[in-house]
Symmetry: C2
Subunit: 276 residues, 2 copies
Amino acid sequence: MTLTRVAVAQLPLRVGEPKANRAAAAEAVAEAAAAGARLVVLPELVNSGYVFTGAEEAGDLAEPADGPTVTEWGRLAKDHDLVIVGGFCEMADGVLRNSQVMVDSTGTRAVYRKVHLWHDEQDVFAPGDAAAPVVDTALGRIAMMVCYDLEFPEWVRAVGLAGADLLAVSTNWPVSPVPAGERSVLLAHAQVAAVANRMFVAVADRCAAERGVSWVCGTSVFGPDGYPLAGPVLRDGPAVLVADCDLVAARDKATGPRNDVHRDRRTDLYGMSRTR
Amino acid sequence: MTLTRVAVAQLPLRVGEPKANRAAAAEAVAEAAAAGARLVVLPELVNSGYVFTGAEEAGDLAEPADGPTVTEWGRLAKDHDLVIVGGFCEMADGVLRNSQVMVDSTGTRAVYRKVHLWHDEQDVFAPGDAAAPVVDTALGRIAMMVCYDLEFPEWVRAVGLAGADLLAVSTNWPVSPVPAGERSVLLAHAQVAAVANRMFVAVADRCAAERGVSWVCGTSVFGPDGYPLAGPVLRDGPAVLVADCDLVAARDKATGPRNDVHRDRRTDLYGMSRTR
């Protein structure tokens, strides 16, 4: 059994302060590396922050995929010999994207553009039009996804069936009311993504209220059984959590001697779905 | 706004004691009716119990869909003017089925046969080969599903897209280890079924250990926001819980002024799913 130490970083980002944001990310990566992590997941829109006044402000903060943020992450990945997955505000061919990048010691492995856009993101970003990547890294097969994407079981299932050992979710989860004694249902999405596909799910959320928006601060790692291996933090402050994950074990989709979450799918019947 | 009182019954079933099991169900229905419920959800395999020695024992306990159990439920539904959804061990054309029936004051509305079979059920039952029903009742559109079915997002999405206001889950959830401070991840499946489709989910689980198998006792009702309106019980004893549900509200799939859990699906991309 090979255990891979996975880190998830909860960062206090601030809109319009790209240098401070990059520094917070670099510090978190260094902390994770010092703790022995081989994979570090960072939140959504690390370079820019989230609560834009509009597309113009976002455009001023956006960078290409070979801009200062991703370049720095590539250097950090090489220096520390680890994989980084994180979100950034991207300008690509004149189009703004809510993007996520994976870099390792060899350079950029994948750029993904969030396809399900939440609320006012629709005024700012063009949605992606490509599948969520599943990248065969030295550590295992790592899938990528951003925030609201996780709420679509079809999207999660696609990376599960494509062989993801771990799903890295970069997010900025805005707070909404949670009944006493419950925790945010957004965490249930992460749990079910994990258990329904017997894969690890690593969520990097953010902290520090921004222009009146507070965050779930739900940074966490879930195992293939759907239970937390680290977090959720649920505390408004920076955090780097680590969990040791047997990524190859996620290739076994058995949930008992006679059941398997992928083989038990009744694909012969799913086509029967009635749609209105 | 019309509130419909929904009841979920957690029953102490015993394998091989159909009369006692029917009596327990009838008592729960009467209690729910007295509390003003218009819909009562009962567990899986109410007539027979669950932990069979094999197909022969299950066959001895099975009934046709017009047998004593469903006939009694039909009478109760008429007497109390309510809808009953419950599971029963069915013999249909010489084939054993893990079935679920919906009856109302007009008679039997639907019979569903569980399509995803768990563990040793595979030695006993033939899996169903038809879609989970969504029945247009006097109360609203009620979908049906049994236990392990709920763990397949495709199956849940199908009834959501078919217009279900409420999903009635009849289950016997066997206990498995749960980390301290967590609750069974099976409840997360129910939460995500609800919130990913903005529908109510009513789960009737069972209680009372049977031949060494204990149960989650997760009887509960979740609202379209994914949070519990009643339960989960999580206590090993009989219970009838009620929750007042605005079923028509579940037809609004909006999660904010600019988002909708069904319309936001990227059906243009889901076909791109890579399968191994």
